[in-house]
Assembly symmetry: C2
DNA sequence: TGAATATATGAGCAAATGTTCATATAAGGA
DNA sequence: TCCTTATATGAACATTTGCTCATATATTCA
């Protein structure tokens, strides 16, 4: 147990980033490969603007990293830590929600 | 990667439950011991009503279990799975946010 | 340089969320 | 039974959130 209000607040903000369908779909789409914004839009079937707004949040909380290549920006999951949390979640859903 | 929209939606709802300071504080308070509602209120410093509303959500998504003892209702973390997710999160914050 | 393509972002708006307030329900003790 | 204590819940309201629309920025190519 943590007795630091600031840590709890930070952690809740961190979990909150995973708690939106669009953002989670983007993360899911990036699990296989890095992808540019256009491809992400197609895969999650959302507008370029909506995706870009959510990518901003994913960047802000360091869930993704990105790299500009020509006109495109390629996004990727930030690290194995994030992948681990996603895998843990997927396993949980498989097991408990089914 | 999961290609099932319903699973992604379920999972995002699951993460969302962790993504609120009050609910996360409640979970944190329960990590040591089971506690009744009154004690939870004191520990998280929120009104009885606010806590009770959030406990309802924690129950709904099976993050806590509870048991009535006389007039009191004692709440506890549902299982080690939930504890694991919390521990993982705390470690992440320790490591990345500091 | 001007047009096309790719991405980012601000403003506005509607929906979702969390709190308070009032009240309901339930159990224990006098 | 009546009062007190413990918990739950509905309604109202303010805040937050995520989308759309319009537009800005940046890069490539003709």
């Amino acid at each position: 147990m943590v007795n630091n209000k600031a840590v709890i607040t930070k952690l809740s903000e961190f979990y909150k980033v995973f708690g939106d369908v669009t953002r989670l779909s983007i993360l899911n789409a990036l699990l296989d490969n890095e992808k540019n914004v256009g491809d992400i839009c197609k895969e999650v079937n959302m507008s370029q603007s909506a995706v870009s707004h959510q990518l901003k949040i994913l960047r802000l909380y360091n869930l993704v990293k990105y790299e500009k290549k020509g006109q495109s920006v390629f996004y990727n999951i930030a690290d194995n830590h994030i992948k681990g949390i996603l895998k843990y979640g997927f396993d949980h859903i498989d097991e408990f929600i089914k």
